[in-house]
């Protein structure tokens, strides 16, 4: 029997950072076939909700817990956003340079990367790719302030709610995460070519079924 060892070299793992944000817009079929770089990404706060337990009592004891459905939400903070995100933020642009607010909000997909570090490789240890489907941005405040005696930039913020998409063999989900320390580098490269585009392909957000089939392939 092996004895448990805490904090052994290489196992002091942590996560940090966020970068490589990409916005994906769905076409009429729901496929996310166009992607746009999201510059100035400051943070993505994942905030799942639901999965609340409702206790049921019988025979003078707690008989069982009924658990409500879980939903995925998030908050994006960034210094800027892709022009194409405007339509997801309720802004229409009928003419170049003209923007009309309070329009219908389009759903979108999102991917971003976070870093995995450990005590040996630091943040070169690995990374996670986070894929979000069926996101809808809620209206949020944009506080424009005077230039003052210190350089500041507005940090825009958007709260997202999501509509899950089908996942073969599982309940519908709005979020997938891929861990480069566990997925082979070849398969990660294949998925990143899909996400970020390559010389012969446009950036696209593959649906969960395609991700699973790539990972399941020998």
């Amino acid at each position: 029997m092996a004895e448990i060892v805490w904090d052994a070299p290489g196992t002091r793992v942590y996560e940090t950072g966020v970068d490589h944000g990409v916005l994906y817009l769905p076409d009429v079929t729901g496929a996310y076939n166009t992607g746009f770089a999201w510059n100035g990404l400051v943070s993505v706060s994942e905030s799942p909700s639901g999965a609340e337990a409702t206790p049921q009592y019988a025979d003078n004891i707690k008989y069982l817990n009924l658990v409500s459905a879980e939903e995925f939400g998030a908050t994006i903070e960034a210094f800027t956003y892709p022009d194409e995100f405007a339509q997801c933020d309720g802004t229409a642009s009928p003419e170049e340079g003209l923007f009309i607010g309070q329009q219908r909000r389009k759903t979108f997909g999102l991917s971003y990367r976070t870093l995995i570090g450990n005590d040996i490789d630091a943040t070169d240890h690995g990374y996670k790719l986070h894929l979000i489907y069926g996101a809808l941005a809620a209206p949020t405040e944009k506080a424009y302030n005077t230039v003052n005696d210190s350089p500041e930039a507005i940090t825009f913020s958007w709260e997202l709610t999501t509509t899950p998409v089908a996942v073969p063999g599982f309940k519908p989900a709005a979020q997938l995460t891929l861990d480069s320390t566990k997925v082979s580098s070849v398969k990660m490269a294949l998925i990143e070519d899909l996400l970020y585009g390559a010389s012969a392909s446009e950036p696209a957000l593959p649906l969960p079924a395609e991700i699973i089939s790539i990972l399941a392939a020998a």
Binding site: H20, N39, F79, D149, P151
Partner: protein
């Protein structure tokens, strides 16, 4: 001097009443008054995408003028991202020190 610093040099030189603006002058330089002496002081960096997204240098800008009622400090105070730091007198010269992001 890089282009950004040249622009600041020109901006400070053009303040009415300034004979010359000196960037980090050597100690043995004989300066002509009224003048502005400025030097690199600090910097502020905003981060995004795991990298520095915007880097802004801060300068300490000192107006040196024998006139206690000089209008040159008003010119420096009117620059965007400028804030007054302190005033002192030395060798009969009035020093008004500002922090300026540029």
């Amino acid at each position: 001097m890089d282009q950004r610093l040249l622009k600041l040099q020109s901006l400070l030189n053009d303040i009415p009443g300034v004979v010359k603006a000196y960037f980090q002058p050597p100690a043995n330089l004989t300066m002509q008054y009224p003048c502005i002496v400025y030097e690199r002081d600090s910097a502020t960096t905003l981060f995004a995408n795991n990298t520095p997204y915007r880097h802004t240098k801060r300068y300490q800008v000192t107006v040196i003028d024998p006139d206690p009622d000089s209008e040159i400090p008003d010119g420096v105070a009117a620059l965007p991202l400028s804030s007054f730091s302190r005033h002192f007198t030395s060798d009969g010269l009035h020093h008004d020190v500002y922090s300026l992001y540029f």
